[in-house]
């Protein structure tokens, strides 16, 4: 896992994809220019679900997409926006009722889960036909692959880094931290200058802000050996990371409320100018300014510091576009998927929403950006990206709020790091191995 996902683990996935690509390319006509005028969707309607949550509004973007899609295929596009928070339930109920959309955005941790249930259609053939096999971002391909087949088309990915309030940092006379010790001293200086502000937000209900510290100290969230998963949250390294992170709260640099904060609460507080620094996503700068115009130009980002310099790995979260097995016209569905995940629209979406595209050739362009609110995230994305356990059961771990439970009991003082992390590791191990 972790950085290795870009190298070790995806060898298999890429090899599989390449093989399939070879096999299919042999029988296809090979006009892989992507502009498939072959799809005739005249009079048809494609139902699509797109998630919404912390990213800026997407209505206009999808108006353009609909127009372009109509022009290319003759089919109408029916886009429905679904809140991230409700989405899992919506998917499950629609799977039960056989009313799934043709195409939907699925979070990377859900794709294997739905594929495992038999609700998704494999995409390898289509990808190969479009000649895209080698141009997809490996980490997203890996997360979208279940049982050797690709079920989630890489669309975009985001990563969390350390976002800080430049005004607060200047007034407190501190520089952006590059080591854990510097985070602590910066927090101390901020607290001294602004006793009423949250120097560093340590939220209790935001698992993705926790894992970087586990990895940064050399620990693991979970490792796989054969078919067996073992959570490493209770290893001495992981506990060291947890002690550092929760210690910041214990020393009074966070806030009492943060014990029950979610990432949206962190965003709110940061946008109000009440937070010195926090672990936040590459897609949040837009939302911060949207929430409070005054924050424009008053914050910046750095990759999450490593313990003694360097970088602590951060979770690469992202989305796939998945085709449901109920899709009547799979060619039409893939035409939409291809339009969204490659070329112009993929670039636009990434720029507007602060995400990194799932197509390698586009990603390379984004990574060259010098924008101070893009470059640090890009650096984190390439050099310090990591993945949560790639298992159809990880969704269950997330839903059980295993990590949040651990964090809240540590932050509220009801359990120490050793006890809480041992409990969490036990629960995570058992959920990951629950072979249903």
């Amino acid at each position: 896992m972790r950085r290795d996902m870009w190298t070790r683990k995806n060898v298999g996935a890429v090899a599989t994809a390449a093989l399939v690509a070879l096999g299919v390319a042999a029988c296809s006509s090979g006009s892989g220019d992507g502009g498939d005028g072959t799809v005739d969707g005249e009079g048809k309607t494609l139902d699509v679900w797109i998630m919404q949550g912390t990213n800026p509004s997407a209505d206009e973007f999808f108006d353009d997409v609909s127009a372009a899609f109509k022009e290319e295929t003759g089919a109408d596009l029916n886009v429905e926006f679904v809140e991230w928070g409700d989405a899992h339930d919506r998917f499950v109920t629609s799977i039960a009722g056989g009313t799934t959309p043709d195409v939907a955005e699925t979070g990377t941790t859900w794709t294997p889960e739905f594929a495992d249930a038999g609700a998704l259609a494999p995409l390898d053939e289509f990808v190969a036909e479009a000649g895209l096999g080698d141009d997809l971002v490996d980490g997203l391909v890996e997360a979208g692959t279940y049982d050797g087949e690709l079920y989630g088309m890489p669309w975009y990915a985001g990563v969390r880094s350390l976002v800080y309030n430049t005004e607060i940092f200047e007034k407190a006379g501190v520089e952006p931290p590059t080591t854990w010790a510097e985070i602590e001293s910066a927090a101390k200086a901020i607290k001294a200058e602004f006793p009423d502000k949250t120097a560093v937000a340590v939220p209790g209900d935001a698992e993705f802000t926790v894992y970087p510290w586990v990895w940064g100290a050399g620990g693991e969230v979970a490792t796989q050996d054969g078919d067996t998963w073992t959570s490493g949250l209770d290893s001495p390294e992981a506990q060291e990371g947890l002690k550092f992170w929760t210690g910041l709260a214990k020393d009074g640099y966070s806030s009492a409320g943060a014990t029950t904060w979610r990432e949206t609460d962190v965003l709110d507080a940061f946008a109000q100018g009440d937070v010195g620094m926090a672990v936040m996503g590459s897609w949040t700068p837009g939302a911060i300014v949207e929430a409070n115009k005054d924050m424009e130009g008053k914050f910046a980002a750095v990759p999450i510091p490593g313990k003694d310099g360097g970088m602590s790995p951060s979770v690469l979260g992202g989305s796939h576009l998945s085709m449901f097995s109920t899709a009547e016209d799979q060619d039409l569905a893939f035409a939409f998927i291809e339009m969204m995940t490659t070329g112009e629209f993929a670039t636009q979406w990434g720029e507007q929403a602060g995400y990194f595209p799932g197509q390698k050739s586009l990603l390379d362009e984004t990574l060259e950006s010098t924008d101070p609110l893009v470059a640090p995230f890009a650096q984190q994305f390439v050099e310090g990206g990591a993945s949560v356990p790639v298992s159809p059961n990880f969704g269950a771990v997330q839903a059980k709020l295993t990590t949040s439970t651990m964090m809240q009991s540590i932050l509220s003082g009801s359990e120490d790091v050793e006890t809480a992390s041992a409990k969490a590791a036990e629960e995570m191990t058992s959920l990951l191995n629950d072979g249903n």
């Binding site: 499950v92 495992d116 009440d274 439970t405 249903n436």
Partner: protein, 323 residues
């Protein structure tokens, strides 16, 4: 319900009264059957909308029913496995059941007491003030549970909440306290929320009863020297027994299955395991873990528990009447 339907079925028009000699019997049969015939459409609707889902939940509870079973539609029977797991779960006995039962008892008690007190107040007010006060409490009633919950969460918010702010200005605490992390303070807030949302129904219902209590009885009691408390508990309360029965049973049912008011509170969705109740437990297990069978089993138990309480309560009431 199935039995009532089968009774109704042969009661078609063909069964109408025979020749003269059997008329009295025929008439009484028709008389007995007629109400059921009239009720049949409504009962059918209820059967489809209520009974069938109930049966499905009961059937799911006997299966290991996950996402894969939903997609394939294949049953996966495991007998009473889910129930065994529930009853052997430490979490049920240590956290979930105590939280659910204790909370329900307290909130029913407070809701009914406060609601009755407000009803007495309303009964003693003049027309204008009665309208004003009852409109005000109607507003509390009309507020959706979700909105109400967020208002209470906001009031008790650790960093920006009014409650902490007041305590600190009064010098009662030095630093902000997060009231949502502790089991007791968490449920105290839920209690406030649920009582606030539930008392108007009690108040209005009891008020209707209070207005129906004959004035003569109260005057007679007063002449006999009964004080206000005595008049209330010895004259009014016995008159309102039926109303209290309805109000208590309904409140018990509502307060047992309280969900949104817990789930939406910080930490209430499962990250604070100390505050789980039956409703939230059932939800997170079924929808979070894709264990619909297990969640259904919890729901079935909750239903049985409520049925049990209701039956027991109704029986005591009826027995007292017979005496």
């Amino acid at each position: 319900m199935t039995s009532t339907l089968s009774v109704a079925a042969p009661a078609g028009p063909g069964q109408s009264p025979g020749p003269g000699g059997r008329r009295p019997f025929g008439k009484s049969l028709l008389a007995r059957v007629r109400p059921w015939m009239l009720l049949t459409p409504a009962l059918l609707v209820l059967a489809v909308l209520l009974l069938w889902p109930l049966v499905r939940v009961a059937l799911f509870s006997l299966q290991d029913y996950g996402l894969r079973e939903i997609v394939s539609g294949e049953p996966n029977w495991i007998g009473l496995g889910n129930y065994v797991e529930i009853f052997t779960s430490e979490q049920l006995w240590a956290v979930v059941l105590p939280n659910t039962v204790a909370f329900a008892v307290l909130s029913v008690a407070f809701t009914v007491m406060f609601g009755t007190a407000v009803a007495v107040l309303l009964a003693s007010l003049g027309r204008v003030w009665r309208t004003v006060v009852s409109s005000a409490i109607m507003a509390a009633w009309a507020m959706p549970a979700v909105t109400g919950t967020y208002v209470w969460v906001w009031i008790f918010d650790a960093d920006r909440g009014v409650f902490n702010h007041v305590l600190q200005s009064l010098g009662l605490q030095d630093a902000p306290v997060n009231w949502f992390t502790d089991r007791w303070s968490f449920y105290a807030i839920v209690l406030l929320n649920v009582v606030h949302h539930g008392f108007p129904f009690v108040a209005i219902t009891v008020l209707a009863g209070l207005l129906g209590v004959p004035k003569e009885l109260l005057e007679a009691a007063e002449i006999d020297g009964a004080g206000a408390w005595r008049r209330f508990f010895s004259v009014v309360v016995p008159q309102l027994k039926q109303i209290f029965a309805v109000v208590i049973i309904l409140s018990t049912i509502w307060d047992f299955k309280v969900f949104a008011q817990v789930y939406l509170m910080p930490g209430g969705a499962g990250s604070n395991r100390e505050v789980l109740n039956l409703g939230v437990w059932s939800y997170t297990e079924s929808f979070g873990q894709n264990r619909y069978g297990f969640g259904s089993a919890i729901a079935v138990l909750l239903t049985l528990l409520l049925l049990g309480i209701t039956v027991a309560y109704v029986r005591t009431i009826l027995k007292e009447e017979e005496l």
